[in-house]
């Protein structure tokens, strides 16, 4: 359950942005959460809501973009989504493919109200 710490880090980053834009009202923050990030999206949403409630950042909401694990095959160049942990290339059968996405834990955007 480190999602509370993660949610807090997101809010700290939003506050840093808010300090630079004192007149802005922030509505939404977009975060990318990879399948291999070790972060559970539902727990993150729950923690985020709990921290925002009655805080200076209300009514900020969180939008999570989930990223599946994708591998790239060094032999044939095929990029594929991993199902059931099988990282074998579906085209050429190469077993040692490279992970190219799924470990992300990134802030993507901030939405603010026009003034």
């Amino acid at each position: 359950m480190h999602e509370l710490s993660i949610a807090n880090s997101i809010l700290e980053a939003v506050r840093a942005e808010a300090a630079r834009r004192p007149d802005a009202r922030f509505l939404k923050v977009g975060v990318r959460v990879g399948e291999l990030s070790g972060v559970e999206p539902e727990a993150l949403s729950f923690s985020f809501q709990a921290l925002v409630k009655d805080s200076d950042l209300e009514p900020l909401t969180l939008e999570i973009e989930r990223r599946p694990r994708c591998q790239c095959c060094p032999a044939c160049g095929r990029v594929f989504r991993v199902h059931d942990y099988d990282i074998t290339c579906p085209d050429c059968g190469e077993g040692r493919t490279r992970c190219i996405s799924g470990h992300e834990l990134e802030m993507i955007y901030l939405e603010l109200e026009d003034v």
Binding site: S5, G38, T97, L112
Partner: protein
Amino acid sequence: MSRIPLEKKVLNENDLIAAELRARFGAHGILCLNFVSSPGAGKTLLLEKTLAAFPKGERVAVLTGDVQTDNDARRLARWGFPVKQITTGGACHLDARMVERALADWRLEELDLLLIENVGNLVCPASYDLGEAAKVVVLSVAEGDDKPLKYPAMFFRASLLILSKIDLLPYVPFRLATARENALKIHPEMEILELSSTTGAGLDAWQAWLEARRRATRAEFHSAARVISGQV
């Protein structure tokens, strides 16, 4: 309504401190390893056996993290090397800031190996870089051989998997081959060792792995020092 792009890591602050720590370890030629596992997999006993085998004066230190108590630090301090307990007071993982604070009153020039024992937890410590050269994940045979599939984030990030407590194999349904296969599914480059800290079986292979990593770290440090001093 307008949207501003951010494109930064959520744990940017932790990652910055971790990068600083990594640079400091590099500058002192220190190999730093971050030991992770579920609670009770045998991290502390493995570290005790590791310390016990070192000669007096070995340049090694240990940081050990727990939610409460300094029991582990007391166990580890018996071997005569510097040990410090980090009590997280509820947090389920160590972060880079805690490591930075714990190192504040140690002289890094007196070390060339730093072993960090993380809080027993296969989930949260995966997200926090501590500036280590490698994560070592310990999985005991008293657990399930499907653990790598259940906690892929950790096994994806760890460089070495230690299958521990192999002396218990006759009494548990754990299949070593299945555990290996599952770990390699998540992380094909994973190195894997099997050992028992209780009987000592396999400890020599672990010590050899550690020594090889230390040698590589030293070689890198010395070649960097030669470049800096203009000898190359």
